[in-house]
Subunit: 154 residues, 2 copies
DNA sequence: TTGCAGATGGTACTTTGTGTCAATTGGTTA
DNA sequence: TAACCAATTGACACAAAGTACCATCTGCAA
């Protein structure tokens, strides 16, 4: 693990405490474990992937809690809910503005960090009547694995 | 309905025939009806919404066929699978490059046409190893209805 | 007109996500 | 540091979204 990654995880743990205190939420072991697990990963796991991964280490962790907690985290802005081509939610601990590329074949999502793709300015309100909060660019393409192995699915 | 809309629907029907012939797919009444229904709508319906709408007019249409056909259409590039905040697929008959705004509260998806948001150029391959096919910008915000009625869901 | 590959409909099933509620626990207060 | 209570959790049942399977049907090419 790089130093930057270690620092990122520490920052997220700090942010968890700050945000929970600010929102009057309890700091439970489940919440700590979930955020830690998500912060350590660089793929963008689904709720069930996180559940499978944590079930082993966090004894008695329930699937309901995983879904509920991730939703809570997304609501308080601690993590991002990332939409992929496949119809299931994926989550990302990195809430800074960055973009994603999603594999049309297996659905894997990776970061795509390139300030050249940032938009100039963002109107607060659009002619359509929507109030605009934020944006994200989702690229579609073929991941390295699927370029070689066309039978791969995830 | 505007003339432009009528022309769009006619173009899509033409495109359906061309693409099916090119791919060796049959031109079934179900496929015609589905594409027509999707092309006429300007919201971005889910598979089940299309199923509900067509069940009445296309007798005996099965839910399985709707899911299967939409997937097929997306694969041959006849329609787009649009990702929204909610974990369900939405579909769009307009395959030209344009962007979407999705309501964080009710999940509604609308078009956001503004060439000012287009990206300069697109590298074929990115350092991440992904082969890039295309991109779409998804704005998040609050739709006009939800700005007024915070209990509204769809 | 016929044959058949491909498409459909129906059912059962899996996956993804939500509602409910009793039992538990974090965190505050005394 | 003990006790209380609202918030959280786990377990189960349920709903919603999507897929697998297979017998039947049909578009379309010969």
């Amino acid at each position: 693990m790089t130093d930057a990654k270690r620092a990122f995880i520490a920052r997220k743990e700090q942010e968890l405490e700050t945000l929970c205190r600010a929102q009057g939420l309890s700091l439970t072991p489940q919440r700590r474990a979930l955020l830690d697990a998500l912060a350590r990963r660089k793929d963008h796991p689904t709720a069930d992937q996180l559940y499978d991964a944590l079930q082993k280490t966090v004894k008695g962790l329930s699937r309901t809690t995983v879904y509920r907690t991730l939703e809570t985290f997304a609501n308080i802005g601690l993590i991002l809910k990332v939409s992929s081509q496949q119809a299931k939610a994926r989550f990302d601990a990195d809430t800074s503005r960055h973009h994603h590329i999603s594999c049309v074949q297996c659905g894997a999502v990776a970061d795509l960090i390139d300030p050249g793709f940032d938009l100039p300015e963002l109107p607060d309100k659009h002619p359509s009547g929507f109030r605009i909060y934020d944006y994200a660019i989702t690229f579609t393409g073929l991941c390295p694995r699927c370029q070689q192995d066309s039978s791969h699915t995830a």
